[in-house]
């Protein structure tokens, strides 16, 4: 039978339909993925963006000598005996004076009024005064942190209705805050301190920051980079270019692939057993965290480096050997430069993975509450030996706390973490493009 090219036969129709179906599946899968990503990002951003803003009360605080310096001669030893409990009434009085001056009605008890100001503010003022004792006796203008509930009110998390049921605040307090905001005494502004301040106790979420966590993560990334990159690249080069192909190298290869799939918490247990219990490094130190993350990152780096080395055409090796280069010269002069973009990308992706890793860090104690900025080196603790936390652990930590103000901060930390990851990936892409564009 003669068939026309202009009419499709049944077989072709079926084939075309199958192809169209397959494309549709693919498209819908991508749409689902994009949609999920969109929801994820929106929820993270909408929940977390407000943590970059903080509510401050601008007050002219009179610093009375009789309360803050009983010695009268600015003797620091005497002055430091006044704790933050001594400073709190000073701030409350300043607020009272402000309300009087502005003619704002105050139905609150002194204690409840004091609760408008963060407990952290007393410490801030005290630190300023101790750093500069001459301030005593003067009236100084401070930007004081408002308490978490007031902050929440201006961010929409606390409402009059919820305040009525809340032991920590009241609708009356919010009314006063609103009145102060109307005249510009209370302001919500961008809060750099979120990235600088250390974590704060459960009672003062408004003062909690990521400083220690960012520093801890940075130290760990340094440890990972310094250890994992050279070890990973060296072992890949050896395995790929020099090692004989036999049963032993096969075994090693299989095990590297297996290690890449080992749950990260297992590395945490390993770290706990070896680095802390056996080698007696400091608990919660970035050194131990970095070592554990190095173990975890090594397989990733080795696998991607080997893939990058494999993708260099063998003709380049032949060419180098053909003009009399030694094996090592052919690898270091020709193969490695060509594989460098791949190695870099693999390394940065490994680092990004390590940056976001939480589980193993919980086991080595990085979940601890740390308020002291860890020093990179101290004679007692050694290199990266001081206790620190890490970004993902800080997220975990904050989500565990009862005060809802920590919720927003947890999301803020997630955004910060994501921004760091995005930057690292962007750097990876940039380096890749840059090195590949050369030829």
């Amino acid at each position: 039978m003669k068939t026309s090219l202009l009419t499709l036969d049944a077989r072709t129709k079926k084939r075309n339909a199958a192809e169209a179906r397959f494309k549709a599946y693919g498209l819908s899968a991508i749409f689902v993925a994009m949609f999920a990503l969109l929801i994820l990002l929106t929820s993270v951003v909408s929940n977390g963006l407000s943590s970059f803003q903080q509510t401050f009360i601008t007050l002219e605080v009179a610093l009375p000598e009789d309360k803050l310096d009983k010695s009268g001669v600015r003797d620091l030893a005497v002055m430091s005996r006044v704790t933050t409990i001594g400073y709190a009434p000073v701030l409350r009085d300043a607020l009272l004076a402000k309300l009087d001056a502005l003619d704002i009605e105050n139905p609150l008890s002194n204690r409840d009024l004091g609760n408008l100001i963060s407990k952290q503010s007393a410490a801030t003022v005290r630190d300023r005064v101790l750093a500069n004792p001459d301030l005593v006796g003067q009236t100084v203008t401070f930007d004081l942190l408002a308490s978490g509930r007031i902050d929440g009110y201006f961010k929409g998390a606390v409402t009059m209705e919820s305040a009525a049921l809340d032991g920590n605040t009241s609708p009356e307090a919010l009314t006063i805050a609103q009145a102060l905001a109307d005249v510009g005494v209370i302001e919500t502004k961008f809060n750099w301190n979120f990235f600088v301040w250390p974590d704060a106790s459960v009672q003062r979420p408004e003062a909690a920051g990521l400083g220690v966590a960012i520093l801890g993560s940075l130290y760990m990334m340094i440890v990972v980079l310094v250890l994992a990159l050279p070890i990973g690249v060296a072992s890949s080069i050896y395995l790929e270019e020099f090692a004989p192909k036999n049963r032993w190298t096969d075994l090693i290869e299989v095990n590297i692939s297996n290690l890449a799939a080992v749950p990260s918490i297992v590395y945490g247990i390993l770290g706990l057993a070896i680095f802390i219990n056996f080698m007696e490094f400091n608990q919660s130190s970035p050194l131990v965290g970095g070592l554990v993350l190095t173990l975890m990152t090594l397989p990733t780096i080795i696998i991607s480096t080997r893939a990058a080395l494999k993708s260099v055409p063998p003709s380049i090796r032949d060419a180098a050997l053909g003009v009399g280069a030694s094996k090592m010269q052919s690898v270091f002069h020709h193969v490695l430069p060509l594989a460098a973009p791949g190695i870099l990308t693999g390394t940065i992706i490994g680092l990004a993975q390590a940056l976001g890793e939480t589980a193993p860090l919980l086991l080595i104690g990085m979940v601890a509450f740390v308020r002291e900025y860890p020093a990179a080196y101290t004679p007692e603790a050694g290199l990266f030996g001081e206790a620190a936390t890490a970004l993902p652990v800080q997220v975990f930590n904050w989500t565990q706390r009862s005060d809802p103000a920590f919720f927003e901060r947890a999301f803020g930390a997630v955004i910060t973490l994501l921004v760091f990851l995005l930057i690292m990936n962007a750097v990876a892409i940039y380096l890749r493009r840059r090195f590949e564009r050369r030829w």
């Binding site: 004989p244 003709s315 032949d318 053909g322 003009v323 009399g324 280069a325 020709h334 050369r438 030829w439």
Partner: protein
Amino acid sequence: MEDLTQMDRAMSTQQDIKISAKNVQVYYDKNHAIKDVNVEIADKTVTAFIGPSGCGKSTFLRCINRMNDTIDICRVEGDIRIDGEDIYDPKVDPVQLRAKVGMVFQKPNPFPKSIYDNVAYGPKIHGLSRNKAELDEIVEKSLRKAALWNEAKDRLDAPGTGLSGGQQQRLCIARAIATAPEVLLMDEPCSALDPIATAQVEELIDELRQSYSVVIVTHSMQQAARVSQKTAFFHLGNLVEYDDTDKIFTNPEDPRTESYISGRIG
């Protein structure tokens, strides 16, 4: 009568033996790839290896500069000498050998570096120049010998990979002769080139004969006939026949050679 024989001998020894192979066996694992090859390759001559695919001609070529060392499962037995020195002697470093025995590969494989760096790489790693001026001179000389100088002199900093296929192959030849080798091995150097580029490379091979002993593996019998003075025919790992090119193509002794050059096997 005696004078005549003496003259005869003078004729035959006029061309010195550069490479001599005796009882060479090559095994890939258990596969016996080269079987008992004996051959003597003369200096300042182009010697062609022909034969059907998989007959072992490339394998044998790669024995001459020990490129087979890079293949784990490859084992070479027998005796290969260059200027009377056993190149498989444990004292021989293949790196030094390969500087002396240059190689050009089937596919043009310039380094992804500039034209200059491609040629200068060999002299640099072997310390053949004391300063930049000497290196420049080596690069120019090599590029001139490879008939690439006129095309490349204005863009020595351009990437070697940006040249055309034929130019790339000539660049590879320049790179190979920059280390001042004594022997040049060519593994199907024209198989990836168009006829014009092939003609250029063939012309070049003929000129290179003045200074080097050239061994070329080729699939094209016409090419072997055009460029070589001696031809060796390989079949199934055996060296079937080795003689003057004219003789091989006009009056082969072995029936297998005749079948191959007339297109019946292979």
